[in-house]
């Protein structure tokens, strides 16, 4: 595996995470290599979003460390992690609902480096999400849930990031739209962008990702290639309902 030889873009090393005195994630290690689409799955409250928050610098690990692009993440505001090339597509999309789709995308390229390449990024992103073309001038809040998720991903790409992390992009979407969004994520991954995809929808994630980690009650229960996990009895029983 080539990514074993190059250093990963993201490595989470034995982190303990929590809020105040409450620890919710214990001794979790994971990594994402160049060009990989990696899944992080687990049930409600298992600590998935907490891990993403730590990667974005919103919370500081109690123990362990997180290295992004060769540098340890310290307590930093999220905007500083964005400046380092990390795109975070958050839970609930967090769009600017009264701004047009175009403006949402333009805001995505606010940082100086991204701004310099804004016109090119906009073209690339529109090519990747042709379904947004008809809605560029509509307020983002008026789009369907699936389209809004596309806008959220497209906005994050405008940053020209080195890596993308996504929190439950399929939540609240009708099954057909979940397929569309997953296909869109697959397209983004094909551009070579490393992605860490957090989901509860285990079946959909294992269908698109290269590798995945399974989190249970704040600890890693399993990890492996998508094919391995799809065949694993525990995954089949607990998450795929087979």
């Amino acid at each position: 595996m080539p990514q074993e030889f190059t250093s990963p873009i993201l490595s989470v090393e034995n982190v303990d995470l929590g809020y105040g005195a409450l620890q919710v994630v214990t001794d979790v290690s994971l990594h994402v290599g160049a060009g990989e689409l990696v899944g992080l799955v687990g049930g409600n409250g298992s600590g998935k979003s907490t891990i993403l928050r730590a990667i974005s610098g919103m919370i500081t690990p109690f123990g362990g460390r997180i290295v992004f692009d060769g540098e340890a993440i310290r307590a930093a505001a999220p905007h500083q992690m964005a400046a380092r090339g990390l795109a975070h597509v958050p839970m609930g999309r967090q769009l600017f609902p009264n701004m047009s789709v175009r403006e949402n995308l333009l805001v995505g390229a606010t940082l100086p480096a991204a701004r310099a390449a804004r016109a090119r990024s906009l073209e690339e992103v529109r090519a990747l999400f042709p379904e947004l073309d008809a809605h560029m001038d509509a307020p983002a809040g008026q789009l369907s849930g699936g389209q809004q998720q596309m806008v959220a991903i497209a906005r994050a790409l405008m940053l020209r990031p080195k890596m993308m992390i996504m929190d439950e992009p399929s939540i609240g979407l009708a099954p057909r739209l979940v397929k569309d969004v997953m296909a869109a994520i697959r397209r983004v991954a094909h551009t070579g962008l490393p992605i860490l995809l957090v989901e509860q929808n285990v079946k959909q994630v294992l269908a698109v990702c290269d590798r995945a980690y399974v989190l249970e009650n704040g600890r890693l229960a399993l990890e492996g290639s998508a094919a391995e996990l799809q065949g694993h009895p525990l995954v089949r029983k607990a998450y795929l309902g087979l």
């Binding site: 967090q94 809040g141 940053l159």
Partner: protein, 294 residues
């Protein structure tokens, strides 16, 4: 018997005064938009502008509109410093902390003014105070026209900033979704102090513009204008610049028409009456959209 010329004149006066109220309301609404906190010291910043003009008049004999050139940048910097020093450190504390902090700020500003200038009412007498311009049958006061010109320029500049500049777009993004803005790389803390500076500058501009028209006292006038700012933003619908402008114009017209056709000593009460009616009949504000969240 309603004389049309007098009615038009009252309407024009109401709109001109309302423009100044709009400035005040826009400042409050902008600050609320990005900080999600009501600034209880907003009216005191208006009064700070008034006393600034009084001071420039006493010391240098400056015309209030001339002193605006100095007051505006100073107010902006003062607002930014106040935000950094007082509000930023408690940004993550429960919401009522910043509310209480602005309330405390209001008390401090009012009492510092009282200490410096004493309690007697102050104004700035401009030589053109009673000059008017005659358009057809309608007489318009030069002071009010100057106020109208100043507010139009300020609001025009504000719109240009918000809609046409990169930083303005970052401000709007922060107001619409702070987390979303932060994740695309916007330093929303900086946006907050910047916007607080803008809000302060708008309030101070309004104060400087109004001082030839009224007498100010250190604490009472501040409370009145904080109240007016609430009325303006609630009339329009909190959190939207266009709505605050509409609310300001409406408040000006209601006050002036009320004062000229009913009892003039209840001038401030007509605005409150309109406010109560709107709250009862259309709580989302006259120009507010039904709130939609993503």
């Amino acid at each position: 018997m309603l004389d049309l010329a007098i009615f038009i004149q009252n309407l024009a006066n109401g709109l001109l005064i309302g423009g100044v109220y709009a400035l005040i309301g826009v400042g409050l609404t902008l600050v609320f938009g990005v900080m999600r906190t009501i600034n209880f010291a907003h009216g005191d910043f208006v009064v700070l502008g008034m006393y600034g003009a009084v001071l420039f008049d006493l010391v240098f004999g400056f015309d209030p509109y001339l002193s605006l050139l100095i007051a505006l940048p100073v107010a902006f910097v003062v607002g930014m410093v106040v935000e950094r020093a007082i509000l930023a450190p408690i940004a993550d504390a429960p919401a009522e902390s910043s509310l209480l902090a602005t309330l405390g700020l209001s008390l401090i500003i009012g009492n510092l003014l009282l200490l410096t200038f004493g309690g007697e009412p102050r104004s700035v007498q401009v030589p053109y105070a009673s000059d008017t311009v005659r358009i057809g049958e309608v007489n318009l006061s030069v002071v009010l026209l100057a106020a109208g010109a100043a507010t139009t320029a300020m609001i025009g500049a504000l719109y240009w900033f918000l809609e046409r500049t990169e930083r303005g777009r970052a401000v709007r993004a922060t107001a619409e979704n702070r987390l979303g803005a932060e994740l695309v790389g916007i330093d929303t803390r900086r946006v907050q102090s910047f916007v607080f500076g803008m809000g302060t500058a708008l309030a101070v501009t309004a104060g400087v513009t109004l001082i030839p028209l009224l007498f100010a006292t250190p604490t009472f006038t501040g409370a009145i204008f904080t109240l007016k700012a609430f009325v303006v933003t609630v009339l329009g619908g909190l959190g939207r610049v266009g709505a605050a402008i509409g609310g300001g114009l409406l408040l000006g017209v209601v006050e002036v028409l009320g004062a000229s056709y009913f009892l003039s000593e209840y001038r401030d009460a007509y605005g409150l009456l309109a406010f109560l009616l709107v709250l009862l009949l259309r709580p989302e504000g006259l120009f507010g959209k039904t709130v939609k969240r993503v």
